[in-house]
Amino acid sequence: MTLNQLTAHEAVNLIKKKRITAYEIMQDIFNQIDKVDNLIKAFLVINREEALKQAKEIDKKVKNGEKLPPLAGVAVAIKDIITTKGLETTCGSKILKGFIPPYNATVINRLREAGAIIIGKTNMDEFAMGSSTENSAFGPTYNPWDLERVPGGSSGGSSAAVAADETFVALGTDTGGSIRQPASLCGMVGLKPTYGRVSRYGLVAYASSLDQIGPIAKDVTDCALVMKVISGHDNMDSTSVNLEVPDYLKSCQEGIKDLKVGVPKEYFIEGIDPEVKGALDKALKTFEKLGAKIEEASLPHTEYSLPTYYLIATAEASSNLARYDGVQYGYRAEEYENLSSMYQKTRSEGFGREVKRRIMLGTYALSSGYYDAYYLKAQKVRTLIKEDFDKVFRKYDILITPTSPTPAFKLNEKVSDPLTMYLSDIYTIPINLAGIPAISLNCGYSKSNLPIGLQIIGKHFSEETILRAAFNFEQNNGVEKKKPSIKPAKHKEAKK
């Protein structure tokens, strides 16, 4: 076994006990990246020199007997939509190629203060718009479990990197499922925090009322560890909430006999893969065995979530992405006649297809004469969707659903039909609209050895409860923990 295969909490403990050094760990991490990332293509930028230097600093602290911070020596990969000072940040877009942020996102500063080491930036759907990482301007990322399949998206690079043991943990962002769906498709643990739990300062905005940063990890413990570090109020983000951050790890140790679980019937609809449903049924039995009380629940407005989400998200995106005009940073077209044509040519050459489609949709929904029919209507339906959740959470502590209707799908399978692609986020989107937290973790494998994920949803600021439920399930579900075997031969064939 190589050190990169450890979990973050195992690595920190071994460093503290002086059994291994942070430098040795970092070497194994970069060896793995050198070995497999030409097949996975999870990374856009690798921060090797700086990371090795920081590992040596951790080792010096150990040698001097200094107190170590909670993530000392932990390798973290960062989705390329979070600004990192001095390290290129592209959002998977040609329009930001070469952009070197002059400042760190708040989450980056918090990770660094906690001793974590940023090892690189990960691939993603352009501006987080997509569910497969195929919309990256720099080419797709491949799923470590089957290189002919997508890792999910938009945080596909982050998720694939964790699954392929190229990093211990990663940060992703989730606007409609972009942490949970790729975590599910890659067999990892991914948490979307409550809106306002984690600062968005330095997160390049896609849909500001929905975006949240969260961790992707190999197990629930690592997820809780990172959550503790990145959560909390920040003066730089007026939507970040000033609430105490609980000790997520501690609460995991308690049982779940007290939990009332609702299973929303609207989530088991036509189109759900029978293997996903089978794995879910089995998982629910585990929860029952652990003492949780399970009942069928109802979220009657579920079927309206997708159109509501795409109207709100694209409207916000059309406004947020107006800043890419070629003036202050990023790409500028070479040839143009005047200022207006400079904007047009820059944006037309710089943005990819899906981004243009969403800007167009959002601009249309906000345009004069259509605002009430589309945007305002969607905001009203958002209220109804949120009220559905308010109601069920009066009766239940958590909800359990599948994370994605199917395991990982093949590359190019859904690219040509945007609506079909949008449907792969059907179980994750309502959670963003309600602003509540949800975690996805593995609950089994399909016959063709693809991971299947389940989603645990909680009320606002109940990260403690969903992490506790996830931890108890993880420790007792009897599903054998597998690692993907990354097979290059198949991949080459697929590329022909």
């Binding site: 070197i100 002059p102 409550t194 809106y195 306002g196 009322s209 003066n235 007026s238 939507t239 909430v241 407005h301 079927e303 309206y304 159109p307 509501t308 795409y310 109207l311 059309s318 107006a322 005009d325 003036v327 202050q328 940073y329 990023g330 500028r332 143009y336 006649e337 005047n338 200022l339 400079m342 047009q344 040519k345 944006r347 037309s348 943005f351 243009k356 489609r357 800007i359 167009m360 949709l361 601009t363 249309y364 345009s367 589309y374 305002l376 209507k377 969607a378 905001q379 009203k380 339906v381 958002r382 209220t383 109804l384 949120k386 945007p418 609506l419 609209l433 309600a434 602003g435 606002h460």
Partner: protein, 97 residues
């Protein structure tokens, strides 16, 4: 699909608003795709929302203001360092007037 919700002409107008330009083939493709997406969005019309308040942000919070105090900002050179089009400490754009 029964009727067109958005015409090619409207697509051209929205493109203008979005500061995007498309060739003929792209215009056709966008018109057809936007039509099927908007057609799907019609589903929301099934709901009577007349008495429903819109939600913009899910966590209701008072407006938070930072103190009105001058703090150090990023150095000018750093801010300008991401553009090739700099003249005398300013961003250079084509002539406007």
């Amino acid at each position: 699909m029964t009727e067109k919700i958005i015409t090619k002409k409207e697509v051209e107008y929205v493109a203008e608003l979005s500061k995007l330009e498309f060739n003929e083939e792209e215009k056709e493709e966008f018109t057809s795709q936007l039509n099927s997406i908007l057609d799907y969005f019609k589903k929301l019309d099934e709901l009577d929302t007349e008495k429903v308040e819109p939600t913009a942000y899910v966590i209701s919070m008072p407006n938070l203001m930072n103190e009105d105090k001058v703090k150090p900002s990023l150095p000018r050179e750093e801010v300008l360092s991401n553009s090739k089009y700099i003249k005398k400490g300013y961003f250079k754009v084509p002539k406007i007037m």
